[in-house]
């Protein structure tokens, strides 16, 4: 592997810094880095390649995210940008940062509870993932539907404050 030139290294660092400023279109408090959507940045001279991975197969935000990445880089004069859609390894909520989880909860969306994904989904009528209400913090909540406002979210309701809320489904 060729050693990166100093220019390449600086550009790479700049690109990562700029990517931090690109927010998720659906949940603007999160950056695409918080979500683990960006899988890599490769720089060769002036050519920048950003690899992103979709959260869910049909995530409609991916086009917007790609556009936002281009625009952010363009604003800094970085014009030669290719965006690669990297399918494998498949995105998992494990890649969501701790900061991202905290921001989600502050925004009113319950963050994913690790280790509760596919193993439980075929447990028919089994116990639902226990999720803390992001609003009043009560543990007394119940699942309304596995399919919420977007592909990545389930719909819960709190039995204490009675508010409905979205839960970011664990996906690992």
């Amino acid at each position: 592997m060729d050693k990166l030139t100093t220019n390449d290294q600086q550009l790479t660092a700049t690109v990562w810094r700029l990517l931090e400023e690109v927010s998720d279109p659906e949940v603007p408090v999160l950056s695409i880095l918080d979500l683990g959507i960006v899988r890599g940045v490769r720089v060769e001279g002036e050519q920048v390649t950003v690899s992103i991975t979709p959260t869910y197969s049909g995530c409609p935000a991916m086009n917007t995210i790609a556009t936002d990445i281009r625009l952010r880089l363009l604003a800094e004069g970085i014009t030669q940008v290719t965006i690669h859609n990297q399918l494998s390894p498949a995105w998992t909520t494990d890649w969501m940062s701790q900061a991202g989880r905290a921001k989600l909860e502050a925004y009113g969306i319950a963050p994913p509870v690790d280790g509760t994904a596919t193993g439980h989904v075929l447990n028919l009528f089994g116990k639902d993932t226990a999720v803390r209400c992001p609003l009043c913090k009560s543990e007394h909540t119940h699942l309304v539907s596995q399919f919420g406002s977007t592909a990545c979210k389930a719909h819960y309701q709190c039995d204490a404050c009675h508010e409905p809320f979205d839960y970011f489904k664990c996906h690992s």
Binding site: S51, I52, P54, Y56, S57, G58, C59, P60, M62, N63, A66, T67, R70, T82, I83, H84, N85, Q86, L87, S88, P89, A90, W91, A117, T118, V121, L122, L124, F125, V144, S145, Q146, F147, G148, S149, T150, A151, H155, K169, H171, S172
Partner: protein, 267 residues
């Protein structure tokens, strides 16, 4: 779509014959998710309850996401500059390779649930094996899709149980739906000549190997639903070879209308 998919280096190591077969097979997978996703989208705004309207739209969206990945791969395999849109919107009905089950009408909620359950039971178990395919792209697509398929199967399984072991009305509707749709379930695991060839090459799962898990899950769900598993029913086939029911024509008339009326339209 302005995102370029990752390269698959293995693409260039396939013989022309295998590449053509893989193209036709990936098209089959894409057509299947497209037609079923389209059927589910027909429920949007018409669901019996808001939460289930959302559920069906979400499941349809997952399927359409898989569809896009598959059509993009098919276009690359074909290598003749056709795009995912050309493949999805500009082929004739006899060129589509989806199995007959997914083009059947939505009917009532019980019919939609029955169709979905029969499909999900196959799809989930199929994808679990497809992740081991030596074809990197198929394995990658399966790796994503299987996580979503698990949620779909849980949803449709639980609804079969609710409807089967529910009220007299729900049971009546489920029985009627099953009487109409069971005959299409066999095609999913009946390999065509194309599929046998790709199975022999080790590129796609052997459907016979999926049957034990599928049968066990079906028996469990039907058992909980107090519904007997149908037996001795002649299975309809032909969809995977381009011989469709009349329903596909109506679906395509709607699906292809814009693309055919305004060729090359961009917005």
């Amino acid at each position: 779509m302005q995102v370029a998919p990752s390269e698959t280096s293995a693409l260039h190591s396939y013989s022309a014959e295998v590449r053509q077969q893989l193209f036709e097979y990936v098209l089959q997978l894409a057509d299947t998710s497209l037609i079923l996703g389209h059927r589910l989208s027909e429920w949007c705004g018409h669901g019996p309850i808001l939460e289930q309207d959302l559920a069906m739209a979400n499941i349809g969206l997952d399927l359409l996401g898989e569809t896009r990945s598959l059509y993009q791969y098919a276009a690359e395999l074909e290598g003749q500059d056709r795009t995912e849109d050309d493949l999805a919107f500009l082929r004739l009905a006899t060129e589509y390779r989806n199995p007959l089950l997914v083009e059947q009408p939505n009917g009532d909620f019980a019919a939609t649930i029955t169709r979905q359950f029969l499909f999900d039971n196959f799809h989930y178990h199929f994808l679990r094996q497809l992740v081991s395919s030596p074809d990197e792209r198929l394995a990658a697509i399966a790796e994503k899709a299987v996580k979503e398929a698990a949620y779909h199967l849980k949803w449709s399984s639980e609804w079969v149980i609710r409807l089967g072991d529910g009220t007299a009305e729900s049971r009546l509707r489920l029985d009627k739906a099953l009487a109409g749709l069971w005959r299409y379930s066999g095609e999913l695991t009946t390999p065509t000549a194309l599929e046998k060839s790709l199975q022999a090459a080790g590129l796609i799962p052997d459907y016979a190997a999926l049957l034990p898990a599928m049968t066990a899950h079906l028996a469990h769900v039907f058992g909980e639903a107090t519904v007997p598993v149908p037996a001795g029913v002649f299975m309809m086939t032909g969809g995977k070879e381009g011989r469709h029911t009349e329903h596909l024509g109506y679906i395509l008339a709607e699906l292809q209308y814009m693309q055919r009326t305004y060729p090359g339209l961009k917005w």
